[in-house]
Symmetry: C2
Subunit: 221 residues, 2 copies
């Protein structure tokens, strides 16, 4: 694996697992020291993470882990609600027992991670479940978009999620597999839709402190 990709993965993991919480600053010096490469390499990775909305780079102020706005949070979930259910039909065309078994193993791991309270693994596995499912649709363009949305969702749950739940309960995911095994296309679509809407509605909005208070609007004029 290339060195860049390695660093990128490690940082992305740290972000979606909330080891680097939203708002955490990411000074290039420390990172270059930590990874044993020059700032040049770090900057490349940060640029990429910024384009994918995992970090925010402000000119002359450096990078920090993105703190998704409420609007962004809702839009990401809405995007998933619009896309993921629509992938089910194509997915079912390729669905077979091999896939079923593979995903059931994943769900088992999810369950174990959640019971062991290993938040990091739990988050990763939840996102991977949705991404791997999307890949089976056969459309790699959409799949990689779903991948990005899933990881962004992890970040969103860090900011707005109900504590303890990472969004989808594992039981839920095995439910979907049952439906897929029975080839019930429409049911699977609506299940996925409900599942994502459930996550969306579980977000706790308007409770976090505002980052930029609009004093002008509050007192001005």
């Amino acid at each position: 694996m290339s060195n860049d990709e390695n660093i990128y993965r490690q940082m992305l993991n740290a972000i979606v697992e909330h080891q680097l919480p939203p708002g955490a600053r990411l000074p290039e010096d420390r990172l270059s020291e930590a990874f044993g490469v020059s700032r040049t390499g770090i900057r490349k990775v940060l640029q990429r993470l910024a384009l994918e909305h995992f970090v925010i780079i402000e000119k002359n102020k450096g990078a920090q882990v993105n703190r998704p706005s409420e609007a962004e949070a809702l839009e990401v979930l809405d995007s998933r609600i619009l896309i993921e259910p629509q992938l089910i039909p194509a997915l079912l065309d390729h669905w077979n027992t091999e896939h079923s078994e593979r995903f059931r193993i994943m769900v088992t791991e999810e369950k174990r991670a959640e019971e062991a309270n290993q938040l990091a693994d739990s988050i990763q596995l939840t996102a991977r479940f949705h991404y791997e499912l999307a890949k089976l649709s056969g459309n790699q363009v959409l799949a990689s978009f779903v991948e990005q949305l899933c990881y962004r969702s992890s970040l969103i749950l860090a900011a707005y999620g109900t504590r303890g739940s990472v969004g989808c309960e594992c039981g839920d995911h095995s439910q979907l597999l049952d439906i897929l095994d029975q080839g019930r296309k429409d049911e699977a679509k609506t299940w996925m839709s409900h599942h994502l809407k459930h996550i969306k509605s579980s977000l706790i909005l308007e409770s976090k402190p505002e980052e930029n208070i609009d004093f002008q609007r509050l007192f001005g004029r």
Copy 2:
């Protein structure tokens, strides 16, 4: 406007307008010379273009304009078919005469550009029409994804499009505006779907030269 963004826009324009055709090599030296900045700045732009699939960077071999594979071309169009029609309902919620007028001006410009045989402007305007429409859905996440897909479509049409047509005829776009003005939601959705499927089916596949010719298969054995 920042310098990076400026260079990025210029290069992206050159690519989607086919001034830099698929396969064109992009040596960092020449570009840094042309733009009057150091290779550092150029590399940043190239990295970004690569992440967005407009150029391909191979290790130690540099960047070149992406030549989309047939599979990629179909996947991009399929993605648009899946997303863009679904944006219509939300779009219609905000639709008003101001929007209508703005888009009719755009269509007029499209028509003029096409008649004047200004391929570059024509391509830009066609992509912008779809992107601006997507923005009106209110979901910026999906809109910027659509933007990327539209620009990638331009690149695809460079490789697989029928000569003379850039995909959508302008008459078509004004048709959609008529339907939107009448608030016919379902009709607009199906129109958009048909429109994109028409573009997809107009692609001339398996006719362009392969990027990596398999000489072994072609002559060997």
